[in-house]
């Protein structure tokens, strides 16, 4: 009989822990809808791949670049729209994007702090100047015509065309 109080207390703690995100979310309700405000490059309108792909999978692109540069000495990247870039985090990416004002904000929001890119790479001093700031909003799905990948299953599961993961710049 006396153990009921312990059981109920234990249950209450459990429920409190489980529902903690709700209480917290209600407290900060105003801020929640706000996605991180990113500083977009002033001088460019298009990244090396479509935005949707870059948001979800930029790390895969970076890993592929690293491998190709370090192992295969492949430095040229031909983007989906035919533009040619250098496979270079410091020059190409950080040439447009600012680490603190771009990378870190999303990373902090998504809980992916400090990937080990930064153990080697630095933000160049003359970083991109921030001109336009925009809240990151969900992008509309790319038009079906944009699909390039033959891999339809993957593209259906991910909801957007499987991106031009660069295997080889050619």
């Amino acid at each position: 009989m006396r153990d009921r109080i312990w059981i109920v207390a234990g249950l209450a703690v459990f429920v409190a822990l489980i529902t903690a995100p709700f209480w917290r979310a209600r407290r900060d309700v105003g801020d929640l809808a706000k996605l991180p405000v990113l500083t977009l490059p002033a001088n460019q309108t298009q990244c090396v791949a479509p935005v949707a792909y870059m948001r979800a999978s930029h790390m895969k692109l970076l890993m592929a670049w690293r491998y190709q540069v370090v192992r295969e000495d492949e430095r040229k990247y031909v983007a989906f729209n035919g533009k040619v870039y250098q496979k270079n985090l410091t020059e190409t990416c950080l040439g447009c994007h600012n680490k603190e004002q771009f990378c870190d904000r999303c990373h902090a929001y998504a809980g992916v702090p400090s990937p080990y890119c930064w153990s080697c790479h630095n933000q160049p001093q003359a970083g991109a100047s921030a001109v336009s700031a925009a809240a990151l909003q969900p992008q509309a799905q790319p038009a079906p015509g944009a699909r390039r990948s033959p891999d339809r299953l993957l593209s259906r599961m991910s909801g957007w065309p499987v991106s031009p993961v660069p295997r080889r710049a050619q």
């Binding site: 153990d3 809980g111 969900p138 599961m157």
Partner: protein, 337 residues
């Protein structure tokens, strides 16, 4: 048969999740109705189940003792396996819940030819322990999606989990362990004829469901990337009861979500309630002190007895003939023969 049915049931859920988001109504159902309903059922069902156990009394003091009792001061007591105090019980329960002590007892590692032999039964302990710890770690890691800003300890867990620094996104060891352990538990259920004999629909269903959840999660993280920002925004908005329709949520994510919701809603009706039940098990959570302290049975009731008076009356002549003292006789005289 039950294995097949449960596999089909899980596959149907996967299909519903993948395809359900194609229409607006379907997306609403999957992103709004299902999560709230599942969470409500989980919370209410879990509490009802636990309270129902709590309201059934423990009439008798029945710990299973797995070591030496506390008796004479010079005999060494097994304080954890046969606890006599609250602290002992706490230690026993902690060992049971955190390390699966009893399953480990199964585990008698043997040295043979200078090699440690782990038999079949040890893998059950290892598989179960690996699975549960990996699952816990993964659940805690998911908090990064529900809390803003992300607490440092959650980031710490992630770093710990990804310490191998393989690839990007970093490979979580817990993901690998979870999949391996689940695969083993499923394999064991199929392969061991004794376990297969007793396995029910619910046993396979739980395994397939967890496996489907794990696989969809792994796919999303490593292979078919989803937009984590949208997912987090969605999760936070759910938590704040201000759901937003997010078109960027991918079918795979919706499937993952549906599977998780199914698990949550199914849990209170299933054997998975062992997660709460283990705390209440009267063979484990009682101290072995039933001779030192009286345990009270709330429904103790008087029973029909064959009293001494009735007994003496029935055997009166024989008692007298045998010279056994009777109740009203002088006690001192009784011992003469």
């Amino acid at each position: 048969m039950s294995a097949l049915y449960s596999l089909l049931a899980v596959l149907a859920l996967v299909a519903a999740g993948l395809e359900g988001g194609r229409t607006g109504a379907g997306r609403d159902a999957l992103t709004l109705i299902v999560p709230y309903a599942a969470f409500t059922i989980f919370l209410a069902g879990f509490c009802v189940r636990v309270l129902r156990w709590a309201w059934a009394p423990v009439p008798f003091h029945i710990p299973t003792t797995c070591g030496q009792q506390k008796s004479l001061p010079w005999i060494r007591q097994a304080k954890v396996d046969n606890p006599s105090s609250k602290w002992g019980v706490l230690a026993r329960m902690a060992a049971e819940i955190l390390l699966f002590r009893s399953l480990f007892r199964n585990n008698r590692a043997r040295m043979a030819e200078k090699r440690l032999i782990l038999g079949e039964s040890k893998f059950l302990w290892l598989g179960a322990l690996a699975f549960h710890w990996a699952l816990l770690l993964i659940l805690l890691r998911h908090l990064r999606l529900f809390i803003q800003p992300v607490p440092a300890w959650v980031n710490g867990l992630e770093r710990l989990d990804g310490f191998l620094q393989i690839g990007a996104p970093q490979l979580y060891i817990s993901d690998v362990i979870l999949l391996a352990a689940l695969a083993y538990l499923l394999y064991r259920r199929f392969r061991d004829p004794a376990v297969r004999y007793i396995s029910l629909f619910t046993d396979y269903f739980a395994l397939f469901l967890l496996l489907a959840i794990a696989v969809s999660g792994v796919l999303m993280r490593y292979f078919v990337r989803v937009d984590v920002l949208s997912v987090k925004q969605f999760a936070l908005s759910l938590a704040a009861f201000r759901p937003v329709d997010l078109r960027a949520l991918s079918p795979l994510f919706l499937a993952h979500l549906l599977l998780v919701c199914t698990l949550a809603a199914y849990l209170p009706f299933s054997k998975l309630m062992h997660m709460g039940g283990i705390f209440l098990s009267p063979t484990r959570n009682l101290a072995n002190d039933s001779r030192r302290k009286r345990h009270i049975n709330p429904w103790n009731y008087p029973v029909k007895k064959h009293t001494y008076a009735e007994w003496e009356e029935e055997f009166h002549d024989k008692l007298v003939a045998a010279g056994i003292p009777l109740e009203d006789e002088d006690a001192g005289k009784a011992h003469t023969d």
